[in-house]
């Protein structure tokens, strides 16, 4: 009984973290938002997960924009592509 009440009011960590991961992909409903906030007030582990998740999102954006400046298409590959283009122009 107590467990059932807990479940409707409070999210488990497993559900809370799921909402944290998913909020980058879709908007959370009002009820989801409220329950997540409530959970984060009382759970330091999920609070840490929330911060880390936001940080990972930022880092991934950074990695996506990372130009890897020191990398070059290898010369042999360049030559063979160039060769094909010149032949087929």
């Amino acid at each position: 009984m107590l467990k059932k009440m807990m479940n409707t009011l409070m999210l488990t960590c497993s559900k809370a973290t799921q909402l944290i991961s998913v909020k980058a992909y879709r908007k959370l409903s009002v009820s989801e938002k409220v329950r997540l906030r409530l959970h984060l007030l009382t759970c330091s582990a999920c609070k840490a997960f929330n911060l880390q998740s936001t940080f990972i999102d930022k880092a991934l954006e950074k990695l996506g924009a990372h130009a890897a400046h020191h990398h070059h298409l290898p010369e042999e590959r360049k030559a063979s592509i160039q060769n094909h283009i010149t032949k087929n122009l």
């Binding site: 488990t12 497993s14 991961s21 996506g64």
Partner: protein, 215 residues
């Protein structure tokens, strides 16, 4: 009067969209490296990136008559490349990892992964297992974003995701595609997508904590 007319004439000419030229002969020299760098962070291996760049140039050459010059040659080539990369994710989504990838990866299929992280019975069911709770990561996280070693570790962590999860992750964060597009391309339901997104996040987080924070 004549000068005014000429000015108006010139203005009219300037508002015409300039047609961009198409010079396949200098594609490799002009765009080879930038296409390659773009691909390199989006796939697992340098050879895959090389192949995708080559396929892009060949496809562009074959279809060069469809280049209308409305956008620059570079934009056009990048669009072809992006489609090739998404195709590549789609083709690889169900490919099992090779033995060496598997031994390097922390991939756990099925419920094993979630059961390790969260209690699966008792009053505290669904709450973190004590050994796998997220730890504190300290204050200066933003410094890490400028740190090449950190970015290398992050890239390795993504590499070790199961194929389908990494396809989702890369389409979301590197190709900036929306959920509907990702579901359509990878032929999965939205709830599949949420599960994959969540497991990937948990796995990346844990991988970073193990390999970067503990340093």
């Amino acid at each position: 009067m004549i000068t005014i007319n000429r000015r108006i004439f010139n203005m009219a000419e300037n508002t015409q969209p300039a047609k961009h030229p198409c010079n396949p002969e200098s594609w490799v020299e002009n765009y080879g490296d930038s296409l390659y760098r773009y691909t390199l962070v989006r796939v697992n291996k340098p050879e895959e990136a090389e192949d995708l760049v080559q396929e892009t140039f060949f496809a562009a050459l074959k279809n060069k008559n469809s280049f209308r010059g409305d956008s620059s040659e570079k934009t056009w080539l990048f669009n072809i490349l992006k489609n090739k990369i998404i195709d590549h994710y789609r083709k690889n989504k169900n490919k099992p990892l090779t033995a060496s990838e598997l031994s390097a990866s922390e991939t756990e299929e099925g419920d094993g992964f979630m059961e390790r992280l969260f209690k699966n019975q008792g009053f505290m069911e669904g709450h973190w297992n004590a050994d796998n709770r997220p730890g504190k990561w300290g204050q200066n996280l933003n410094d890490a974003l400028e740190n090449n070693e950190f970015l290398t570790i992050l890239k390795a962590c993504i590499k070790h995701l199961p194929q389908m999860a990494s396809a989702v992750f890369r389409m979301k964060y590197f190709m900036e595609e929306d959920s509907r597009f990702i579901c359509k391309e990878l032929d999965i339901t939205p709830s599949n997508l949420w599960v994959l997104a969540h497991r990937s996040k948990l796995q990346i987080r844990e991988c970073l904590e193990k390999n970067w924070m503990d340093k």
